[in-house]
Point group: C2
């Protein structure tokens, strides 16, 4: 498919942010986005680079009423050789296709997805920040645009990719987080949408997240919907524990997002001959391990922070400290290795890195 380019003239471009150490997350967007339309009977049409600007939606657009929507999150970085790189983009494209299937949506063709992304990155190369730890956040999004009231699968969709520079997640170094273990509210149940990257799961997380923030916690740890015992995931990260030297994370049973950072961490542990298992682990097991002095580390994994060490969990009013209250060795090693591969500072034995330009 040909990509039409509707580029802004040079004098209409926004100034780039001056201070790359104050980028924050998700507030600054580049001048253009990639977009294409899906129409029932025609398939994907109108692939284009458009100026970033408002999307016109019918007030009855299905996405605005029934949440038929999927998205992705990934990053582009400057490598130490001055090239621009992506980390495992084909994994995001695959996951988006899976999310689409669950939401009855037509998956964007994988080649045109990647081609559109590459074209956008070449266009917006100037928006990729260079300060250590910074990157260009990439948000592919797909929404149901047909105007119809009455629950139905949309005939039409808009797919777009927007990008924006984001700051280093740990400008002052790793800071272990405080996590609230949620027993009342539920993010996703078996048979629900948990493994899809779709609006519904995040809408379901808002209330508990707000409550936790107000009480000084960074994130909510979700337990399984039925027994409220088995650990699922945390906020926008998958959850890992290191107990007696064994790395453990929840299995992909349909209620959690299959994180790409999660998969990378598991792969690296195996590569290093660190015992790692994907299995159900309960909050009781974590408490018991802590009591016995065997809870060495706990960390979240996700695109935004890569690895985020947990300092403590609060469950039923009790604080469960993790390890020695400092970032653990495996957390640190995974963070250094993954970011090292991303930035081209370490070898890439698994072919995770894709050069853009």
């Amino acid at each position: 498919m040909e990509i039409k380019k509707n580029l802004l003239p040079a004098d209409k471009l926004q100034p780039k942010p001056k201070d790359e150490n104050a980028l924050g997350f998700g507030r600054i967007f580049a001048d253009h986005l990639f977009a294409m339309d899906y129409e029932e009977g025609k398939g994907w049409i109108n692939a284009r680079i458009d100026p970033y600007g408002p999307i016109a939606l019918d007030p009855a657009a299905l996405v605005l009423h029934y949440g038929q929507e999927v998205f992705e999150g990934m990053k582009a970085y400057y490598g130490k050789d001055g090239g621009v790189y992506l980390f495992r983009p084909e994994a995001n494209i695959k996951r988006m296709a899976n999310s689409c299937a669950r939401l009855c949506m037509p998956a964007p063709d994988k080649d045109i997805f990647l081609e559109g992304l590459m074209e956008l990155l070449r266009t917006e190369k100037g928006w990729i920040p260079k300060a250590p730890g910074t990157s260009l956040y990439i948000r592919p999004n797909m929404i149901a645009t047909e105007a119809a009231l009455g629950v139905k699968v949309s005939d039409n969709y808009l797919f777009y990719i927007m990008v924006g520079p984001v700051g280093a997640y740990y400008p002052e170094g790793f800071a272990p987080t405080k996590i609230y273990v949620e027993e009342k509210y539920v993010r996703a149940a078996p048979g629900g949408l948990g493994e899809a990257k779709t609006a519904a799961n995040y809408a379901a997380s808002l209330f508990a997240g707000e409550k936790a923030h107000e009480e000084g916690y960074t994130q909510v740890l979700w337990l399984d919907a039925c027994d409220k015992k088995t650990i699922e995931e945390v906020g926008t990260s998958n959850m890992f524990f290191v107990i007696d030297g064994e790395v453990t994370t929840a299995p992909l049973d349909g209620t959690i997002l299959p994180g790409i950072t999660r998969d990378s961490a598991i792969t690296l542990c195996k590569h290093w001959n660190i015992p790692v298992s994907e299995r159900k682990i309960t909050i009781d097991e974590v408490i018991k391990a802590q009591e016995d002095g065997r809870l060495d580390e706990a960390f979240g994994s996700g695109t935004a922070a890569v690895i985020s060490p947990v300092g403590s969990f609060t469950y039923r009013g009790q604080e469960i400290p993790v390890g020695k209250g400092e970032t653990g060795d495996i957390s640190r090693r995974l963070y250094d290795e993954i970011t090292g591969i991303q930035w081209g500072e370490r070898p890439d034995p698994f072919g995770w890195v894709t050069k853009v330009c």
Copy 2:
């Protein structure tokens, strides 16, 4: 609050649909909508009647990524005295406020909500169809408009009310429906969003709904998320059973929508001294009742169809017929009474009907 009127000139209005017996549902929208904005720090501002037309949303608008959204559904009718009426609008306004609370959204003030709706109905009176059984469907909707990537509660919202004429639900009389009892997929779990009227629940229902439609069923009956035994609700209706003369429906435990038609049906049964209970009922109990010849009736209740009789349930490949395969007496009586009250043909002892003009 003053409502600004931005009305289209007479020659820009759309022609009204000619055939009121072919209106369908949710495809035709009136010329104007009511809208207002919420801005953190300012509250609700800019109440207005605007021409119906595209809404401009930032590609990063939170509703498009994280589904922070709530809506309502209600109807306006011509009464037999030629007046225009609403059915229990304060109940919809109350429910929307509850949905807002669950989604961390500021509820629209109840007086301005009702005032905006009334003003819109007076403006669009010509769009209310007159053929028997037709009505003007009303869709209040509220969406998170702040541009931010990263899961958060929005600072800004758009609230709007759109309306459109809808056809009679039963142009050829009551037709008992075929319902598929879903055991694999889940709409809402305890601790989830089930009792809020929000996009996430409908997104969660799409896949199972599609599958059921393809196999010739009208709707999906949801079972509880954990045991898959207790009956929840069906598609966009609450579910009632009449067993041995007792009317039964699921209790409001947080996983189902508190339907206004459900409440009206319960109130009427009590008024008529028909035994009625809100209690957990399992699919096994329904099967047993059918086997013993005690499953007299089953019906859904909702704004769109008012009462929709169920002809059979299909569970684990077995068809469970209901009653004698015809619309039952209580289903019929409730339908006649509720629509009779709505259309001003019967007395309104509970003060359910509100005159618009």
